[in-house]
Symmetry: D2
Subunit: 135 residues, 4 copies
Amino acid sequence: MYIHQMKLRVRYAETDRMGYVYYGNYAEYLEVARVEMLRSLGISYREMEEQGVMLPVRELRITYHKPAFYDDEISVRTELRAMPGVRIVFTYALFNAGGLLLSEAETTLVFIDVRSGKPRSAPTAIIDRLSPYFG
Amino acid sequence: MYIHQMKLRVRYAETDRMGYVYYGNYAEYLEVARVEMLRSLGISYREMEEQGVMLPVRELRITYHKPAFYDDEISVRTELRAMPGVRIVFTYALFNAGGLLLSEAETTLVFIDVRSGKPRSAPTAIIDRLSPYFG
Amino acid sequence: MYIHQMKLRVRYAETDRMGYVYYGNYAEYLEVARVEMLRSLGISYREMEEQGVMLPVRELRITYHKPAFYDDEISVRTELRAMPGVRIVFTYALFNAGGLLLSEAETTLVFIDVRSGKPRSAPTAIIDRLSPYFG
Amino acid sequence: MYIHQMKLRVRYAETDRMGYVYYGNYAEYLEVARVEMLRSLGISYREMEEQGVMLPVRELRITYHKPAFYDDEISVRTELRAMPGVRIVFTYALFNAGGLLLSEAETTLVFIDVRSGKPRSAPTAIIDRLSPYFG
């Protein structure tokens, strides 16, 4: 298992007239969290894409427990619980500064070869970086 | 069961550098679809909120089958499969102009009394409008 | 001069905790308005881009007179006041359903040849469609 | 004059199918930059709003010189060139990691009393914090 933690601050643009972070904007937080997790492993998602491997999202699930508010500093804990194959599954828990669990999420992404447009297995660079964390 | 159909066109802003509609933007499409479904029943979500009932999203699930592209005209079919209680569950299927299934989604929302901040059952206006379609 | 009118409805996602449409979201409304103006002339922005001509925004100016609110139906009047050359300037006025002027804007965009990355003059198709409106 | 510098990283969600940061998303960058500038002065925009002073945007101007790309680390230099009265004017310059000037912007915001809905002068807290920087 590989765990990564990061923080981000809620932008005014991300709130809605209820005063909450709009439910669709969490997808963006999850994107930032998983990209930063990969960066913490020495993997640039941008470079991976430039080398011909895309990683579109296949499934998204979010449960919203408590709202997040403007200017809140949100902690995102991202977990990889299994080695990626053709798919990679990220699991997320979001907390506010008081440690309250705001939401939980899971995204499943698929490695795609840009040229063929077909699914492919995870690049060796990712496997190599992750294998020390998976017995 | 109550079914509603509507169309919307993909904005440039909603695409990403893959050329696809960004996965988080579908939440906005689902919002528009369920609000238009309620409008087709004679219910204004805006008025409901102004009368003290909010409807925040509790759960979101989306499966992305095929990408949507810039300027695509997307048809959203929204279904209510059960009478709402404290919760209301919308089920969605999104198709492109060629009839290809792009994605499927489900959102669970909770009726909240604005003053107390507590869950409450669906307003009578909604129950009255929906009951002809259920049993 | 060529004038185009269209309507769009404010999405919940587009509001902020002030209850207003977030100031940055107007850029998206302007995008939709100018693309629909081109469509009204028989020009598909999507096809133009696929044929190798991009039209990035070079300048944006907006003055916000009155806020727009959730679920408002906004009318956008878009004007082309001069034939495009290398640049094309769109002028916009946004009104709510009561006819109140909400905001005024202007965007300057530049025709770019995708292959060379260099500015170029407006495609003949656009010039041909527009010339009847410009004595 | 008061100058503030900050960095932010381009999110995938913020790009469009041209591969550029969508022109409307810069408004969000400017929001983050001016809020962080205020924070650097010891002023919380959130608290100010909770104390009954809103700061809606009255005018936005952006000139886009060069595109920003996915994962770019953008530096935003924000300047206050004059003491605020009823209005406050922020001037911005955005640079990429190579020091290239990407865009320049200016926003004019108006202090509004939430209860009356009327313009008012800048809160004393802001005046006090800024006056050392303005002869």
